[in-house]
């Protein structure tokens, strides 16, 4: 094999092509030389050395010429990076955004517990006893009695055997799914699943099959398909685990999953259900126990319920609850549990006190639902904007009825509505997504959040303002 010298005058691709070839040629030559040396034949002829040094020089040239891409792509000057809203002070009911005092319709503080004095006091007591950080993961002296108490209380509240807490809401379902579902298993998941579920699925390396959002017939269709495939290969089917992953209240669409039908499908096709209840915990159900209580489904029928404590409980972190048979496994194989520091005790105490308040005052759930229905009704019929979400969902979306053609201009129009409202004392936000990473990117929308602290006047004011904004900007 002759070594073509890299001609300086050739194009970039041309050089790369010859360089690739000569690279291989160099290593081939070296391998040949090594073999012959091993057989004891001394190949130290001048020609051999000349060829070898020629290839060494070329390698050095390749190393010098190679240019990687920049670590981060250059930001274009025409589109300056949008900056964050700066909130001064607590993000509670009355919030100061970018210097403007507004009423908060954007933080997921559904039960208004962010600002609660009892919660803050408990956190203070805990701070004075334990300090801030836990300085270790759960396995290495990072388990505090407050963690054990919180797990106990959550299990009792949800009426399951056991609960396990994580120190970060996003990591909860993203660590739980890969602990059970491995390569070769099958997961059926709704198209509108949130990003943390998608990351959990990606980490699990299982086969993923999407079904249309909230469409039980579509789900049954793929389950039947899977059953037919199983019959072709029963040995493999006996060891392949199957799971359905759904959310109680979907973050991206505000819809509620039809849980009774799912349970029927579970027993018919022998699939396990993982339920993600971040938005429905502390919102649905008579006592706030979530979508199982809302529909009256036996909680033991659901294999795993996962939720984060960052919405209704106004703390930080997440938890999974279910039967001991299922939950205990995560204590050794949940990555976000074993390899990460545990939840700071003051945040755990704040969550316990928030749970106490939820148990004492059961009226707030009904109150919250009434307020949701109120604003939902008020916002119907705005020309140009449509309301997406159930009437009892406290986090719903306002989407453009007719898209302007490109996502960018839609986003800009919605931004103008948001800014119009912010200037007039209503803090709203658009729902943000990572456009390139989402599997099924939802259309751009404004997310409206209802909390129990908002009065009826404020709700009406917000609804009127949004109507006004839609009229001024969309007409």
């Amino acid at each position: 094999m002759t070594l073509a010298p890299a001609d300086a005058g050739q194009q970039q691709d041309g050089v790369r092509a010859t360089v690739g070839v000569s690279g291989d040629g160099a290593s081939l030559l070296r391998a040949q030389a090594n073999r012959e040396l091993k057989e004891g034949i001394k190949l130290k002829t001048p020609k051999f050395f000349k060829k070898l040094t020629a290839s060494m020089n070329e390698i050095e040239e390749i190393i010098e010429e190679w240019q990687p891409e920049p670590l981060v792509p250059r930001m274009s000057k025409e589109k300056p990076a949008p900056s964050y809203n700066i909130v001064s002070g607590p993000p509670c009911h009355k919030i100061t955004v970018n210097g403007k005092q507004c009423i908060n319709f954007a933080s997921f503080n559904f039960l208004g517990l962010l600002d609660n004095d009892r919660v803050k006091n408990q956190a203070l007591q805990s701070l004075r006893k334990y300090g801030v950080g836990t300085c270790g993961p759960r396995g290495f002296y990072g388990t505090f009695d407050v963690h054990l108490e919180l797990e106990d209380r959550l299990a009792k509240f949800m009426r399951t055997e056991e609960a396990i807490i994580y120190s970060y809401g996003f990591a909860t379902i993203a660590s739980a799914i890969p602990a059970y579902s491995k390569r070769g298993d099958i997961v059926f998941v709704d198209e509108a699943a949130c990003f943390s579920i998608q990351k959990g699925l990606q980490a699990s390396r299982s086969h993923i099959k999407y079904f249309r959002h909230n469409d039980m017939e579509d789900l049954e269709r793929i389950l039947k398909q899977q059953e037919l495939e199983d019959q072709k290969n029963p040995r493999k089917a006996r060891v392949t685990r199957r799971f359905i992953v759904v959310e109680g209240l979907y973050m991206n669409t505000g819809a509620i999953c039809p849980l009774p039908e799912l349970v029927k499908l579970k027993y018919k096709y022998k699939v396990r259900i993982f339920l993600e209840e971040s938005l429905s915990f502390g919102v649905l159900g008579q006592h706030g126990r979530g979508v199982t209580e809302h529909f009256g489904v036996n909680i033991d029928d659901i294999d795993l319920i996962s939720a984060n404590m960052e919405n209704s409980l106004a703390s930080v972190g997440g938890f999974c609850c279910g039967r001991s048979f299922v939950i205990d496994h995560q204590r050794l194989s949940g990555q976000g549990y074993c390899f990460s520091a545990s939840l700071p005790p003051m945040l755990a105490s704040a969550a316990i006190e928030a749970l106490n308040i939820m148990e004492e005052d059961q009226d707030i759930f009904r109150l919250l639902r009434d307020k949701c229905k109120l604003i939902h009704k008020e916002l119907q019929g705005i020309s140009g904007l449509k309301v997406v979400g159930e009437s009892i969902s406290p986090a719903f979306h306002l989407q453009l009825e007719q898209s302007s053609g490109s996502r960018e201009s839609d986003v800009r129009i919605l931004n103008r509505i948001v800014e119009y409202c912010m200037d007039r004392k209503i803090a709203l936000t658009q729902a943000h997504y990572l456009e390139k990473e989402e599997k099924f990117l939802p259309p751009p929308s404004i997310r409206v959040v209802v909390t129990v602290e908002q009065t009826e006047e404020e709700l009406e004011m917000a609804a009127n303002l949004i109507k006004e904004a839609a009229q001024n900007i969309l007409q």
Partner: protein, 547 residues
């Protein structure tokens, strides 16, 4: 272990690679200690030690595992045939015909080996995780299948397990006033993401301070250290990129690398020849099969490796990275605040320029007594992450009192609060580390790692000794962390000590005396060198006559 004031002869230009031939991590098989300066890259000698145990130890370890495995099969047989009660939780009756959730052989190790020694982990505490803490007493009536708390508290246990390097895990009201105020002002939660309504003014202040502390342009903070790695590596590299990751990288780095979709190649732990070979192959041959050039090459290393106690060879990596135009991601979870004359991490330890490292990452859990992580570097990098990091878009931002604790502890280390407490703690930690390691070496234990790393792994090797060591130490009121297979290689079970600036010399002496006693009782002193406490006067242990 010499504190060399004598001129260093290794790495002399006339004997360039003499000590590097056939070495693992710069160590020869018979356990000679190597200090080298690699032709001026290191400003002072780099001394690490990974002594190998005698052969009989490995044989006995495998025998121990063999015996436990045989017993495991026997017990499984008894359980399957009903001779022995099965204490494990069972599947529901209604779901008995579903595909089993766990395979039996996956849990073999958990059922039969881990269960026997399970009481040494997950020990609950009921006080501050400071240099001393209170453990809740926990007993098991059925050989570790279930535990119950007796309600009693074992107090005054010396804490050698928590990551409290600078002693900021404290509850002294004078130090915590600002944290209490921020709790009163903000509450504990945030209920929104950074991009939406969760970007508080305290976050902006914190990020400016972190950037100043590290000496870089800009920084961004996240609520969880694990998630910082798992969510930001995919934002930086993707398909068509190459990740060169150290063998012993932490799970969060491995998960981040896998989620990114890039090709991952692993180089031997801290071994620069292995890394250079991979870099050369990558640049010269390009992507497999197509030979197209790689888009980016990212080298991922950690500052201090928490299971080995070794410090990364940063000057050599930076030299390699500049030659091959790769990017460097440095995870300083354990080293930030813990090494370096003013606590700025491995970059300061090696007297390097922080601008040479492309992505500086670290966590606030260990040296700052708080929780969360950060990524720092050039302004373009951080601006890019503000828009594209998964955490900024989908995950809740850091809790305000937690952020305030980081602010106050960082100001204390930098001296901005007007006191010298911070720098005193950094120096105290270095003194404690040196003292602890020196005494352990004198006693004859095998200790891994760099001589200045506050993470001290003490090798136990055999699975039986793992359980015995931890229990005996607890009887003497010392809490230690022991780790075995699968977190470590099968023959290298160890106890890992984390030295803290808050440990006083009497506390360390108590621990060392207990270790001395236990070392004789359990036969743990495997080291085959005798080391005296007098300083060595030469660096070379053999002399060659130059002709």
């Amino acid at each position: 272990m010499a504190h060399t004031s004598a001129p260093v002869r290794n790495g002399h230009p006339l004997h360039p690679g003499k000590n590097d031939v056939g070495l693992r991590n710069g160590f020869s098989k018979n356990g000679q200690h190597l200090h080298h300066t690699k032709g001026g890259l290191y400003k002072r000698p780099f001394t690490e030690s990974f002594e190998q145990a005698p052969l009989y130890v490995a044989v006995l370890t495998y025998m121990g595992f063999g015996v436990v495995t045989l017993f495991g099969y026997f017990r499984d047989f008894l359980r399957a045939w009903g001779f022995e009660k099965c204490n494990l939780a069972q599947e529901r009756e209604e779901q008995k015909d579903f595909v089993p959730l766990y395979q039996d052989f996956e849990n073999f190790y958990t059922r039969n080996l881990y269960m026997r020694v399970r009481d040494n982990w997950n020990r609950p505490i009921c006080s501050l995780p400071g240099p001393q803490f209170d453990l809740m007493e926990r007993v098991s009536d059925d050989y570790n299948w279930t535990f119950r708390h007796t309600g009693k508290v074992i107090d005054g246990v010396i804490n050698m397990g928590s990551y409290n390097y600078l002693g900021f895990a404290e509850n002294d009201p004078t130090f915590l006033t600002s944290v209490e105020e921020s709790n009163e002002k903000y509450g504990s939660g945030v209920c929104s993401t950074r991009q939406e309504m969760g970007n508080l003014d305290i976050h902006e202040e914190l990020e400016k301070l972190v950037a100043t502390f590290l000496g870089v342009e800009s920084a961004m903070t996240f609520g969880m250290g694990f998630a910082t790695n798992a969510m930001n590596i995919p934002a930086l590299v993707g398909k068509g990129c190459l990740i060169l990751s150290d063998e012993l990288n932490h799970t969060s780095l491995v998960l981040g690398a896998r989620l990114s979709g890039s090709t991952i190649r692993v180089f031997k732990h801290n071994n620069m020849q292995s890394l250079e070979k991979l870099l050369r192959d990558a640049v010269v041959h390009g992507q497999p099969r197509s030979h197209r050039p790689w888009k980016k090459i990212l080298i991922i290393v950690e500052g201090i490796y928490s299971m080995e106690g070794s410090i990364v060879r940063l000057p050599e990596i930076i030299a390699l990275k500049k030659k091959y135009k790769a990017y460097l991601y440095l995870d300083e979870a354990h080293s930030i605040g813990a090494v370096g004359p003013t606590g700025r991490g491995v970059v300061e330890f090696f007297e390097l320029d922080p601008r040479d490292i492309d992505v500086l990452m670290g966590t606030f859990t260990k040296s700052f007594g708080s929780s969360g992580g950060y990524i720092a570097g050039k302004k373009e990098l951080v601006d890019f992450l503000r828009l594209h990091s998964h955490s900024a878009v989908y995950a809740t931002s850091m809790s305000p009192p937690v952020a305030e604790q980081i602010l106050r502890s960082m100001k204390c280390i930098m001296g901005l609060d007007g006191t010298t407490i911070g720098i005193q703690r950094v120096r105290r930690l270095a003194e404690n580390t040196r003292y602890f390691r020196q005494r352990l070496n004198e006693m004859g234990f095998i200790i891994y790692g760099h001589e200045e790393s506050p993470v001290v792994p003490l090798l136990l090797f055999m699975p039986g000794k793992v359980g015995a060591f931890a229990r005996e130490m607890l009887k003497r009121k010392i809490g230690v962390v022991v780790v075995g297979f699968p977190a470590t290689p099968i023959t290298e079970a160890r106890a890992r000590f984390c030295v803290s600036a808050a440990h006083t010399t009497p506390m360390l002496d108590k621990v060392l005396n207990a270790l001395d006693e236990l070392g004789d009782h359990l036969v743990l002193k495997y080291s085959r060198h005798t080391r005296s406490s007098r300083p060595e006067l030469y660096d070379e242990t053999s002399f060659e006559m130059d002709d």
